[in-house]
Amino acid sequence: MRQAHRAASVLAAFCGSIFLLFLVAPIVRLIGAGGASGLAHLFTDAELRSALALTALTATSATALAILGGTPVAYLLERREFRGRALLAAVIDLPLLIPHPVAGIALLLVLGRRSLVGGTLLDLGIRVVGSPVGIVCAMLFVSAPLYVSATREAFARVDVRYEAVARSLGDPAWRAFRRVTLPLSSRGMIAAGVVVWARAVSEFGAIVILTYNPKVASVLSYDRFTSYGLDEALPVAAVLAILAFVPLFLLRTLRASRGAAAFVQ
């Protein structure tokens, strides 16, 4: 019996190790091979600097928009019961499941110059396709569902009776949300925001359809790979990986130090 347990433990450890190696090895190899030169390129490569700045700016804008629009939607889906709630939740999750170039094509149909929305925006002086606005739209479309889903979970962890008590103490719904639900779910919302930002930074498929130029880091990395080969693409790719990794790492460290589900009574 004990031998069987031991064999099972060894097998589990082996499978787990292979799995971790599969996930970690490419990233470690990438950063190892191109990390140092990537960081060095930051001082010499103006196009890389510009792509990174554009990536950070557009990813931050997309994250801000996801928070602004996604928070009330997540609250609505979590706290209110209404007809069509399941359908709405499924529709919001859909961008996660379709291939990202397909997402880009779908966006192009709505925001392209010949579309009603895209044409109207163009008349108003807002160009979507081939501009940073298009990049933000692509990033938002593919990453916002992650925000809505994670924020819903954050709201779900805050018992609805906290709000009930706040309202019985004189707070209207909005004030109870601001004074109680928001602070109690803020950690989960911040985590959701970081994930959205990292996902936006790494987006390629939808962006490349809407806005090839100006280039964000992911497009630049692809462009250099197809134009000049692996050696030229490596520093850009490594810096991009670091850019996505750092906030996620900080987030996990923060979570671990503060403990999980501290607000659950």
Binding site: V165, A166, R167, S168, G170, D171, P172, A262, Q265
Partner: protein, 365 residues
């Protein structure tokens, strides 16, 4: 004042239906019911947290249909407190208050101000309840809704806090509605008791009436009556029965002298129960145990054998098996007496004793 008229609400599959009762202004109401009977749903409906589906709810004489929770001037305390963990204890107490010095004074009276220096997350269940009670009282609500608010307090503290909450409520003329599983608490605190089951009110009124005159055998058993017998109600043609003082007056009010037959037992009482099938309820506290027959006016007196003795602290419950008349089925009668009395009577299982109770101790339903 809380006035509920045919109140209805729905939460998922659970439904609160036709709930009607009144707790007069400044009085203390208690809601009793089994787990899942709808007690908390009722409080949340009154607080406006769960929307009313139908009926009328008046708080302080004001119709609250469509009035949001923050405008109802109600305070709610949940069993688990639900203190805001991101705020200090003092901030919790003062959350809804406009007068902080009053909030602090209430906290002091309840015993929550001693906790001001502590972290909310470090408070015990009982301490959380103290803070939650102070927080609900601090804005001087018109109606206070309490959901098992003393359950986590130790017995000594529970008595003190219970007394203080009642005193504060009286002083501020706050109408209170409290959910409890504790029948002693219901009897001690309540001016009005509301018994609820499966989302419906089974009976409401002064607690002593619920306990002494339950409307059904189910209610009697739920409220802890141990002697509930199914049987037959028969009217006696006795114009002046000798088993109740003032019987003539009762008979003049339309009551009947009654003989209640259950198995081999025959009980006597006066009441207005319809003839035919019915139930008789006798609370264990009304049953006297003696070694010899009583010379009192108790008409219901039976000789039997002690079959079980259960002592819980100061009280002892004695089950006496009464042999049925003319070889009829035997029936158990449970008596509650002080443990000292039980010891004085030197009761043992198998002892022969007399169990007696007054005719007016028999309630028919």
């Amino acid at each position: 004042m809380i006035e509920a008229e045919a109140l209805g609400a729905r939460v998922g599959e659970f439904e609160l239906r036709d709930v009607s009762f009144v707790v007069p202004a400044g009085k203390y109401g208690v809601v009793i019911g089994a787990a899942g009977s709808g007690k908390t749903t009722l409080l949340e409906t009154i607080a406006g947290i769960i929307p009313m589906k139908n009926g009328v709810l008046r708080l302080g004489g004001r119709d609250t249909t469509g009035v949001p929770p923050e405008q109802r001037n109600t305070g709610i305390v949940y069993q688990h407190g639900f203190l805001f963990p991101h705020l200090s204890v003092a901030e919790n107490v003062r959350y809804g208050a406009t007068d902080f010095s009053f909030a602090d004074a209430i906290a002091k009276r309840i015993g929550a101000s001693d906790l001001y220096a502590r972290e909310v997350r470090g408070l015990s269940g009982g301490e959380r309840q103290l803070v939650a009670i102070a927080r609900a009282l601090a804005p001087r609500p018109e109606v206070l809704l309490l959901d098992e608010p003393f359950s986590a307090l130790d017995p000594r503290r529970r008595t003190l806090v219970r007394r203080e909450v009642r005193r504060v409520a009286r002083e501020l003329r706050i109408t209170v509605l409290q959910v409890t599983h504790d029948f002693t608490e219901a009897g001690l605190l309540g001016d009005v008791a509301v018994l609820i089951d499966q989302g419906r009110v089974l009976q409401s009124g002064p607690p002593e009436r619920l306990f002494r005159e339950p409307a059904s055998p189910y209610i009697a058993e739920f409220l802890g009556a141990e002697n509930v017998y199914a049987g037959e109600v028969r009217y006696l043609e006795d114009a002046s029965p000798d088993f109740v003082d003032g019987a003539t007056e009762l008979l003049a009010r339309g009551h009947h002298a009654i003989e209640f037959l259950t198995g081999g037992l025959k009980l006597y009482t006066i009441g207005d129960a319809p003839a035919g099938d019915g139930h008789a309820v006798i609370r264990a506290e009304e049953v006297l145990i003696s070694a010899q027959p009583q010379e009192s006016s108790a008409r219901n007196q039976f000789k039997g054998v002690v079959s079980e003795i259960a002592t819980t602290g100061a009280l002892t419950r004695v089950t006496v098996e009464i042999a049925g008349e003319r070889g009829g089925k035997s029936a158990p009668i449970v008596a509650a007496l002080t443990t000292r009395s039980a010891q004085e009577l030197a009761l043992r299982e198998g002892s022969e004793v007399w169990a007696s109770f007054k005719a007016m101790a028999v309630h028919l339903c």
